[in-house]
């Protein structure tokens, strides 16, 4: 059963230098209670996708007509702002990358959690406060009765991220979107936060979209994975299948770049030669062609569509349209 289905999501930014096609036809599927990992290089449109799902895109960004975000029987791309406000923080919550700046410095963490509760639940201030303390305890903050009155600047990055998670869980959402929730934290804290997310997910039976750079985290935590490249999903399917047999050359390259156990963090992960093209003018054919070691002539001419493969879906001329390939006769063996 899918909880969230994103179809043909396109989010563009009108900038001075032109239209940035940050997200350009993304399809996603999140199953009830399951975790979807979203991976891809910097600038591939992961965050914009996440924000678009909650329709938090601000000027000069816009979600194009024809985009669909089906969630609990509604198309979030089409509902009113008021309806969305009832969904945000209630049915779908979000945890951001930057715990240092994602909390409001002038309000206590307790009041920020309480706000999240009282926006969606009719409870007294007292009950909400008790619930906030409960939530702080749930995310593993020591002496929550005291911490509830602390200001964000009195907490460490890891603690703040726990507060962010507590806030996101305030109304027990069906879907939690975590956009690189550990990137800004120390390595040891990263592991703790991920473990916390995993526990809470199981305990509350939430679905999670986990955006990350780290395929190791995907392997460990996710059921499904979507690989993004240049504003598109180039491959998606179950983690097991895709890790065993990636169908898209980009996924394959990413998997090859996973650091082996024992390698230090400092070693460069990005071993794929070349750079991501600019969102201002994507190349005409397959957007990965310039960096793909399998690329053949046709790749540069026509964009491949996402088609079913034995591991899920992939957008590559090597899969699917075989006749096209043999006609060109330039394919390398995959």
């Amino acid at each position: 059963m899918s909880l969230l289905r994103v179809e043909n999501l396109r989010t563009y930014f009108d900038t001075r230098s032109g239209v940035m096609k940050a997200v350009d036809g993304v399809d996603l599927d999140v199953r009830e209670g399951k975790t979807l990992g979203v991976v891809g290089e910097s600038g591939s449109g992961k965050s914009v996708t996440a924000l678009s799902i909650m329709r938090l895109i601000e000027r000069p960004g816009r979600i194009l007509p024809g985009s669909h975000i089906y969630f609990e029987g509604k198309d979030l791309a089409a509902v009113s702002e008021r309806e969305l406000e009832a969904v945000r923080g209630n049915r779908i919550s979000m945890v951001f990358q930057e715990p240092m700046t994602s909390l409001n410095p002038v309000h206590t963490v307790g009041n920020q959690i309480i706000e999240g509760i009282r926006l969606h639940r009719r409870t007294s201030a007292r009950q909400a406060r008790e619930r906030a303390i409960e939530l702080l305890e749930l995310v593993g903050i020591p002496s929550p009765e005291r911490r509830v009155d602390a200001f964000p600047h009195q907490m460490s990055g890891g603690m703040r991220q726990r507060v962010m998670i507590a806030m996101a869980l305030a109304c027990e959402p069906k879907l939690l979107i975590a956009d690189e929730p550990t990137t800004a934290l120390d390595v040891t804290i990263q592991a703790q936060i991920l473990e916390l997310l995993r526990q809470l997910r199981d305990r509350l039976a939430m679905a999670v979209i986990l955006i990350t750079h780290d395929l190791g985290v995907v392997a460990e935590m996710c059921d499904d994975v979507a690989v993004m490249y240049a504003g598109e999903v180039v491959e998606r399917g179950s983690v097991d299948a895709i890790f065993r047999s990636p169908q898209h050359p980009y996924t394959e390259a990413l998997l090859r770049s996973i650091p082996l156990l024992g390698m230090t963090q400092d070693e460069p992960l990005n071993v794929i030669p070349g750079v991501v093209p600019s969102a201002l003018h994507w190349p005409g054919g397959c957007r990965f062609a310039a960096r793909c070691s399998y690329a053949f002539q046709h790749c540069h001419r026509q964009p491949p569509a996402l088609v079913a493969t034995r591991s899920g879906f992939a957008a590559c001329w090597l899969r699917g349209n075989a006749t096209e390939r043999s006609q060109r006769g330039a394919a390398t063996d995959a």
Binding site: E85, G89, P105, T108
Partner: protein
């Protein structure tokens, strides 16, 4: 809080000391011998009459002693006698101060009531017509001096709305409501430049806050646009805005002098200008001291409101 407040107040002691020194020095900075001004040009400076005047004003003493005598008096609320009228200066100040205080407070209120929302609206609509419109009006407000607006308002109103009593007497003690009504127009005129300043600071601060990640967090919680804008945005932008209020309050007090003159209001400004006109030096000293002290006090209040607004100061304070 109390410790922080006490600290700020202690810090203002040297400032007030400087202010008193300056107010005192004014008398000695003005060209010409005071005695010749007082006694008239025909009286010789070494005559008996001139010497008497010197003695009465302690001018025969060395400067530090003169300052000491004056300061001790001022601390007791005794600013000496008016040189022109011979009456004590202090009661004059007491009777003129309320008008200036109320005028300044009302202007500040107007300035905030207009400048704050305008700044928020401008930031929110950055680069689009509401922003452009607000900034155009603000530019006009800033480049038009209050005396011009004041005179223009008086002229236009007396031409087209004669029943509107512009220059009626103000007696705050016996008719506070009537007094406030009379002060509405002057306060509005006086508030224009301040409203502009507050609008600009608010706009700049809001532009910065609007891009903060915690604003997205608040939206993601399901808070409505207005709520996010006020409770999360403005609440954070308020700190620089309070600074603007402090700066502009000083300008307001200075502007009050001009506006009181234009509208014929019996405030400290009028008292000061009269005193300068008549070379009534004790009166000048006293009014300058009161006005500058007022500005210093406003700045203490601004400082204290920082404390109330920013939890990050509280930790250190």
């Amino acid at each position: 809080m109390l410790r922080y407040a006490a600290g700020r107040i202690v810090l203002t002691v040297p400032v007030l000391f400087g202010v008193s020194l300056m107010s005192f020095a004014i008398i000695h900075l003005i060209p010409g011998d005071i005695v010749s001004v007082l006694a008239g040009p025909t009286v010789a400076l070494d005559s008996e009459a001139a010497q008497n005047i010197r003695r009465a004003l302690h001018l025969d003493q060395p400067l530090p002693v003169q300052y000491g005598i004056w300061l001790m008096g001022a601390l007791r609320g005794d600013f000496g006698n008016s040189l022109v009228m011979g009456l004590p200066v202090a009661p004059q100040i007491v009777s003129h101060l309320p008008v200036t205080l109320v005028l300044t407070a009302m202007s500040l209120l107007f300035a905030i009531a207009v400048g704050l929302p305008a700044g928020v609206a401008a930031a929110k609509t950055r680069g689009r017509w509401p922003d452009l419109f607000i900034r155009a009006v603000a530019l006009l407000g800033l480049s038009t001096p209050p005396f011009f607006v004041g005179v223009a308002a008086v002229l236009l109103l007396s031409l087209y709305w004669p029943s509107f009593k512009i220059l009626s007497a103000v007696d705050l003690r016996h008719d506070p409501l009537g007094g406030i009504r009379t002060l509405l127009l002057p306060a509005f005129v006086l508030s224009l430049a301040s409203a502009t300043t507050i609008m600009r600071y608010t706009r700049a601060a809001m532009l910065e806050v609007l891009t903060e990640p915690f604003m997205a967090t608040a939206r993601a919680k399901g808070a409505g646009r207005l709520r996010v804008l006020i409770r999360h945005g403005l609440r954070n932008a308020l700190l620089p805005v309070v600074t603007a209020v402090g700066v502009t309050a000083a300008h307001l007090v200075a502007g009050a002098v001009v506006v009181e003159q234009v509208f014929g209001l019996p405030g400290i400004g009028q008292l000061m200008l009269n005193a300068i006109y008549h070379r009534d030096y004790t009166q000048v000293q006293a009014t300058v001291l009161v006005v500058t002290t007022l500005v210093v006090l406003i700045n203490i209040m601004v400082d204290l409101s920082y404390y109330a607004l920013d939890p990050r100061i509280q930790q250190h304070g």
